[in-house]
Subunit: 332 residues, 6 copies
């Protein structure tokens, strides 16, 4: 099912971790996390390039690619404490997006059923409609809540007439009952999309969408506290979807539809840490990294850190040890 | 008077809005806002390139250029609620800056007399001495107050011996009585210019210049509150001048004289929103976008959003509807 | 059928020429040439980005976009001597390449039936399987010969299992009988693709493929002379397909699958001139310009010049006037 | 001892200040500050390029290079109030790092003994082990405390088996007794390095390392207040070492080992100002600026401003005049 | 008259040679060559940026800036064999091009009268109308012939109504009688400018313009041979004007109006060598280097080499020694 | 001895070929070619960055990294016809160049003794002094002749006082008797280095150095013919050293010391093909690829093709089959 290594360019794993093969169950039977690439960008409405996201995220790190990453603040090494394996890229040609998305849904279902958390490296955001759906095939429709970081709501009714595309995945997930609208949280929205009709639909689904203005005025931690209460109500797992364009394009230029006025990198990393420390994560995707528009790889490296931050916080949560952000680092 | 479309490169309007012709009064008779390009950079003291600013700002957007832009936070579409037309670029050769600036002054006077708000896309900041002057010819000397975002005071006595240049326009406006010194607000100054003699002149004019340090320590909203009281005292209109270099070069690299330590994009956008919601705007310029130094168009896109933020807030103010930044977006 | 202007970004025509609408026959009834954009890149096997090719080619010129272009060497202005109109971009979403290609085939058929030469701005090379097919629906199967500039043969049997893709269009054209294998010329091939099996298939089709080595050793003009004899034998029209990667990546970096050791820009332009002066052209495509990988727009500008060179030579051929490349320019 | 001007590229001084020659004592006998370049990058563990840091920092400014820089917020011109001279670059070939570092140690010792503050422009951070050592040869072992801004602790035991390298200088300084571990402050750490064993060593040395998380949650000013108390205890001088990667790579991409989630430029500049206003500085280095990875020179300009901020605050401190950041700029 | 060093950025001379001051005749009394910068770009019709050309050309070299440059092929060091000094940049603000050009004309007249060859580093090509005029004030009207490398004829009647601009200098030189039309040679023209009317004017002046097509078909050496005969007829000096855009933009992207299909770098360097070896040069300008559009400084370095090639060939010519390009280098 | 994979960045092999381990003789016992990375750049005299050359060359290809590369012109797949394995990078820290070079010499000696041809991916050119030396330890001093493509002679006596550096390796090889001066060929030299004294030394060694001028005037094939006669006289093996800067910087900008006026990519590839078809190659290095200065990876891809061209020609030579460059490709 998976490609041998990266679909594009040289073959290597996320920071040098062990490879698994989704067609060989034993290769990931006891994995805690399975990373998989979804290298497709034919769902984009503007700049393409996100199909090179998986390789950029896997390799975006200046440290030795030795499968070790001790998290400085959390004082834990997720790659050693957990079994994290890399299934390589799925073979997802851009010419038929519907078919390629089904390949992805089957992959995340497999991983989920094996008891592991899938972390999907996009690719454009159209993949969310499939990667979450795959997990829901295992965990049940409406049983997964969603926390979604993005500049855009991605709730379009269609995109140039097609149901698939990076502007519509969240609509698909709600329309199909995969995720309940009232368990769907969004943070970081801004800009000039979508139109009123779509916003009304979102309201009718009882979605909760925190536009940057609200975050700016109420504070990120307040908003996260409020979110967490919603997410765990009647749901037994949370999916975290991070569109890298939630960060201000000034700090993360390597993306396809950059909208000024976003979060700082620091704010995103702190949010991801809290979410994965405090919530029962069942899947993660990190999407819309388009290396061709990046500057000195800073966006790719940020996306790499989003994945590591999530992994580290999951490992910390599982370890049962304590963490205080205001404690002297060397005494943690 | 105006060029056919962009002076440089392909011919298109701001996000696809309707074209007007300043020589045909009927084409903008009932316009609320007229956008016009001032593509000149021979007033720069360092890197040139801002003459390509107008086309970069007009086109800096990943959404369809369909003359629709529903503002997510304000829940209003300025391009539909107001009549906003684009007069294209003025023909402003760089070889004779004085002559070119007079062309601009005549254009903004025309627009202002037609009852519309001119929004001028620069170009280097030397254009401010002309675009404000043109409006003052209509509205009266000393009747317009000024709120000016910039890393630099732009109050130089001269520039290499010439009165015109991007380092002197604010001095010209005050020296000529176009704007009263004590109704001249500046935000975001920092760095190593001008010298003490010029600062003393500024003090003598009773200008109010908020250096970044003061904003950092007192808070942006405090400073804006204080400003607003001054601006509306005895003046019946406010001109907003945004030099994109007020934003930190880390977030807005595409400019000619980048000075580290500036505002974030978010802070600029929030400021512009408040200003245009709360003050009677009579003109706006957005200047110093130099695409050759940009990275993935992020500075151009930011400048585009500054224009849209202003337009949206003006439309919101005119609509008379309410807005609370802390209210749930979907309930606004 | 066509989009309003560019599918991506601002709306403008090729160098400011008149717009036509393919749904309104009168708008191009008497056109000599109709330019149309095919902004799709989901057929790429590596770097995407060619969907921004049409806008880059249309706008890649430093001269005023005034619909005038007097060719210095040929002493003719094709944009004035002929009626050349721009139909804008076709709406070709990347998510379903097969469906989008059919849109293109219908468009070139329409243009061809209207008596005009279609010039298609790609987009990746998968579009050739459709744009030539559309013309053949009008002119007859096997009646068009092909001259194809490329680093790659593009004769793959399939691409990741799909028949469409930028590695397979030439196979499709021959397999379907659209173009006869023995009337299919290729120039500029090099590198490490395809494998022996595919080369044997090409030989069996009696294709004539000039690898760069042969051109280097025998001379470009010799090779062109030999080609021309083949192309006009039993065919009444020639389609010219230019993949910009035929030029050395050192001179044309803005493309997706760059193969070192190619032609110079000069050689490509001289070839296009000769072809359009000496052969009965019935259609042209210029493909694989990927602006995200370009440097100072040099590849886009080169592609713009390929289009202009072709247009100028067609106009010269139609004018019946003489041209000698060795004559004093000012006496031509 | 010093090279003639820049070791790489054209010969010019920091913003046009006067040149001195370290072999001619009279040329810097009465200097307050001597700037010297340490153009070496063979201590890097990843991207090289920092050997071009000195020329980039010296020249990174859009104002006339006229040896004048009136600081807007502090209302003082350090280049006029103090004697600041530039010794050019030291000749530090990369092929033998140990030998080159000794050249640097001798230089800072000379400068320190002459009563001036050395400001060293790196180069990679391996230089800190030498530049501080040189000053300690004059001022005494353990008598200088250290305040170190960095994403990384730089306390590695070795680097690929070598004691020198940009990952080890802080360990060397403590191991040799040059700086006491309990007088060694670090701000801005984050990411995935070093491992637990090294962190334990740091704790045992009683270092105080503020990870970004702690700064984020406790506030930068709180942390600085706490730091200042430690630094001046039993030490008579403070060395300030600024690795530019302490700033978020989104704002300072031009560096070799970028770690997301850092300070803003504004926060670094405010910190440097407070430090140099409130503490007895005896030396400064600014390191890890790698121009090849920069965007529009923003990182180089930021590093230039770090040097100027430090110089200005030192001059302000020496002037004995008052400064209030919340006072009206024009009244300061 | 001249600025202190570079008008923009740090102050340094061409490869470290000695400085002169045009206001102090003794400083260049015995100079063979005086280099001077003309940093202006307000004459450009498209991309600006050439005002940074002088500093880019002066510093564009990876070797030590030690005022030594032994030419490998010619086996001579022009910087040691001749007295070559650098007058720095002239103060040429862009806001008044006419006034700035007069400053340049006075400078080249001074240099010429002092018996030295002026080499002017542009700046845009509008400077040619002044730098040649200044020399003609000394040597006489119509006594200097011109050899001009460019993609463009630069013989426009006006530019947006102004007589000055980078599209008109050659017309000005002929109109004013500074250079005779029949002693005006052009090489490398191509593209789509100017129109027929201007070409007719050029023919009427009896100019000789070698379009790239003619050079391609007749050979560069043939064309040069033919040129040399014309240039020395009734003229006692030759001015060499090199617009860097004569080279293909694929090899020299750092310029403002790039026209594909040009010379290779090798061809330009060989041409300059022959010209300066075989003709009595009285002045040179190298123009239109716009660093903001360059890639890894390759265009700036090429322009630097054009200057060095000219200097070396002039020195070789003056030395009276022989040179054969086909002789073993080590035996030359 | 070797690192695990790339010393910098992710771990992958040249185009996906099999890995070997130099410490495990069986892993390369029957190899025809062993590729090894020498990732060091502390020998550079200007821009560093070549230490990232090995990973850039290994991965610089848009085709699937599947260990297959059928050469189109030669009709052979070297990666299938021969056993080519990749030993990964040697651990070569930059801080001690002498020690790191000895690691390399031991590696090439090992490979050579195992009967395989070492292909070394640099790294700066200082590595040539070691990689050739290692082979000579096996094959005998003075028994290997050298063919060296470069813009620079690299025969400096020392570099800033050190014997090692990228300006001196060829001197070291001759001084030590590793390669006889009269069996040392150089092609592509140009520019302004070295000085006469060094050129005299080269002449005294009876080196044969073809400057670009001579190649330009006599023709590349003529020069190669002449070279081949010398190389095989009394030597039983030829080492091919390719400094990528032999190609014009316009086509290969990604290097540290770019010298305009070089070969085209086509000329280099044709030369490498002829050399490896006609001469008994015993080792190859490809050096000075500095990705930080590259544009769209074109230089890295060119270097990748140099390696593949060499491999393909070696395989063709071993196959004993015929090859004619002028034969129809499909009949070869």
């Amino acid at each position: 099912m998976t490609n041998h290594g990266n679909m594009y360019g040289p073959d290597f794993t996320f920071l040098g971790i062990e490879r698994c093969d989704l067609d060989i169950p034993s290769s990931y039977a006891d994995a805690d996390v399975v990373i998989v690439g979804a290298p497709i960008d034919s769902g984009t409405s503007h700049r393409s390039g996100a199909k090179f996201g998986p390789q950029a995220i896997r390799g975006g790190d200046y440290l030795p690619h030795d499968a070790e990453r001790p998290h400085l603040a959390l004082r834990i090494d997720a790659l050693k404490e957990m079994k994290v394996v890399d299934a390589g890229d799925l073979l997802m040609p851009g010419s038929d997006l519907v078919a390629s998305l089904e390949v992805l849904a089957q992959a995340t279902e497999k991983i989920s059923r094996a008891g592991a958390i899938p972390i999907i490296l996009g690719g454009d955001h159209s993949i969310a409609s499939a990667d979450v759906a795959g997990i829901a095939r295992h965990r049940g429709m409406g049983k997964i809540s969603m926390i979604h970081f993005d500049a855009h709501a991605d709730t379009g009714e269609d995109q140039w007439g097609a149901l698939v595309g990076h502007g519509t995945p969240m609509r698909r997930l709600i329309d199909t009952g995969t995720v309940r609208g009232d368990r769907f949280l969004q943070l970081g929205l801004r800009g000039y999309w979508p139109d009123a009709k779509t916003l009304d639909w979102m309201r009718d689904q009882r979605m909760r969408s925190y536009e940057m203005t609200e975050i700016h005025h109420r504070g990120l931690n307040t908003v996260l506290d409020e979110s967490f209460a919603i997410l765990t109500n009647e749901c037994d797992g949370v999916f975290l979807s991070v569109d890298i364009d939630v960060v201000d394009p000034g700090m993360a230029p390597g993306t396809g539809t950059p909208e000024p006025g976003g979060m700082t990198s620091r704010e995103l990393l702190e949010s991801v840490r809290r979410i994965c420390l405090e919530l029962p994560i069942v899947g993660i995707d990190v999407v819309e990294v388009a290396p061709a528009f990046d500057s000195a790889d800073i966006t790719a490296i940020l996306a790499n850190r989003v994945v590591l931050e999530a992994l580290s916080a999951i490992a910390k949560r599982r370890s049962g040890t304590k963490y205080s952000p205001t404690q002297n680092l060397l005494d943690r």
